[in-house]
């Protein structure tokens, strides 16, 4: 039987932990709201952007743009986006595991793999592999479009220079507050947007009639880098929101677990107290009996 004092101290300790997890839960809830608003504000931009890009690229040869050039794939770059901080359940682990699987798959095919890590978690995990080409840490807390632009530009430049023949993007996409799944997206070369059934039969007739200023090619030269920015920024936004949602859930679970532990410990404490009282009573009764005798 543990001593009364030990149990009491344990209970106090767990209570304090639960205070912290509860506070973290509330902080994450507040931050999630911010991240979600930011993400939702970006959606119309991304949607309109893809629409416009589809319109232009529909009748254009993909080979004439550096960012769209499909080459024989010898080296693959994986752009991994995770959060900077932990304590958010299996969120980062899932992303990292997915990247690792992807990495192993490419290596089994005899391709070289390099990594670009966004977020401390990915960087710390992959550091020992020595495959990290570039890393961006401490930006997930508060990032803007220009952070995404810097990353996209670096990756695109490396792609154009031949440092990688294909780039995959792995991030945690935000499905709902309760669900975040790791996702892999084909990043570069930009595939001429799928000539989907409904989209193109209707639009191809129209696209030809567009007046372009400057030429369509020059517009594409501007649009394609922008497109990479949009992709990276979107991934970062989703990871940002997912991180907070995951942490909220994790901290909620932790607070619940704390409650359970406190409950159990209180039982132990009460039992120990009862045992002590019974023991004392026995002593007193025993003493009284002895005096009588």
């Amino acid at each position: 039987m543990p001593s009364l004092k030990d149990v009491k101290m344990q209970i106090t300790g767990v209570k304090k932990t639960s205070q912290i997890t509860k506070a973290m839960n509330m902080v994450s809830a507040a931050k999630l709201r911010g991240a979600q608003t930011k993400m939702e504000a970006f959606r119309p931009y991304a949607g309109k952007f893809n629409e416009a890009l589809r319109n232009i690229s529909a009748n254009m040869k993909s080979s004439q743009f550096a960012l769209m050039q499909a080459r024989e794939v010898k080296t693959v770059e994986i752009l991994v986006v995770t959060s900077d901080r932990g304590l958010c359940g299996s969120f980062n682990t899932n992303i990292i595991r997915m990247s690792e699987r992807l990495m192993k798959k490419y290596e089994a095919e005899g391709k070289k793999v390099s990594l670009v890590c966004v977020g401390k978690k990915a960087n710390r995990y992959f550091r020992k592999t020595g495959k990290i080409r570039a890393h961006y840490i401490d930006i997930m807390g508060n990032f803007q479009m220009f952070n995404a632009r810097a990353i996209a530009q670096d990756v695109a430049a490396n792609f154009i220079a031949g440092g990688a023949d294909e780039v995959q993007l792995v991030y945690g996409s935000f499905i709902s507050v309760a669900r975040q799944t790791p996702t892999t997206l084909h990043f570069l070369p930009v595939k001429s947007v799928d000539t989907g059934e409904e989209a193109n039969t209707a639009k191809s007739g129209q696209t030809g009639a567009y007046i372009y200023e400057p030429s369509p090619e020059e517009i594409m030269d501007v649009l394609l880098p922008l497109y990479t920015n949009v992709m990276v920024y979107n991934a970062m936004l989703e990871v940002g929101a997912s991180e907070h949602a995951a942490r909220m859930t994790a901290m909620d679970n932790a607070t619940k677990a704390c409650k359970d532990i406190i409950h159990n410990l209180t039982m132990v404490y009460n039992k120990a107290r009862q045992a002590a009282i019974t023991g004392e009573l026995m002593d007193i009764v025993g003493g009284a009996e002895a005096l009588k005798g």
Binding site: K38, A41, F42, P44, Y45, K48, F49, A52, N55, I56, M145, Q206, T207, A209, Y210, I211, Y212, E213, P214, P216, E218, I219, V222, L223, L226, Y233
Partner: protein, 139 residues
């Protein structure tokens, strides 16, 4: 009443304008261009500058920075990195930014730092566009 065209200005931080207007004038690749209702499908890149749209006889000004715009189906959509209306512009800050950029440009010329120069030039353009828009907008 004249026909209207639907104007939408969308930035990464959310839609800014979405309304039916009489005419839109914007800084395109080859200079300012105007768009009226039922314009032919059109696509242009957008430079830093002032966007003007007229609604119910009233002119509204927006400062836009780089992006592109698409006209189709009597709808004009601007996708720009940022858009600010006149009253949102901090004139003092824009003035300071202008001075700073001019100073940098003067210094950069001697040092021949290309990247910084491009950045300062963009900053200067933004500051000038902001000032212009702020000046034209009703107080």
């Amino acid at each position: 009443m004249a026909e209207l065209i639907h104007l939408e200005v969308v930035t990464p931080s959310g839609p800014v304008v979405s309304e039916d207007v009489d005419i839109v004038s914007a800084p395109g690749y080859g200079g300012d261009f105007g768009v009226l209702a039922n314009h032919a499908p059109f696509l242009s890149t957008i430079k830093i500058g002032g966007l003007v749209y007229k609604k119910d006889g009233k002119e509204n000004y927006l400062m836009v920075s780089g992006g592109f715009c698409e006209v189709s189906n009597n709808k004009i959509t601007f996708l720009v990195e940022s858009a600010e209306s006149g009253h949102q512009i901090d004139v003092d800050r824009a003035l300071r930014a202008k001075e700073r950029a001019e100073k940098r440009l003067a210094e950069a010329k001697s040092q021949a730092e290309k990247i910084n120069m491009a950045r300062a030039q963009a900053a200067l353009q933004r500051a000038l566009a902001r000032l212009k828009v702020a000046e034209k907008s009703p107080k």
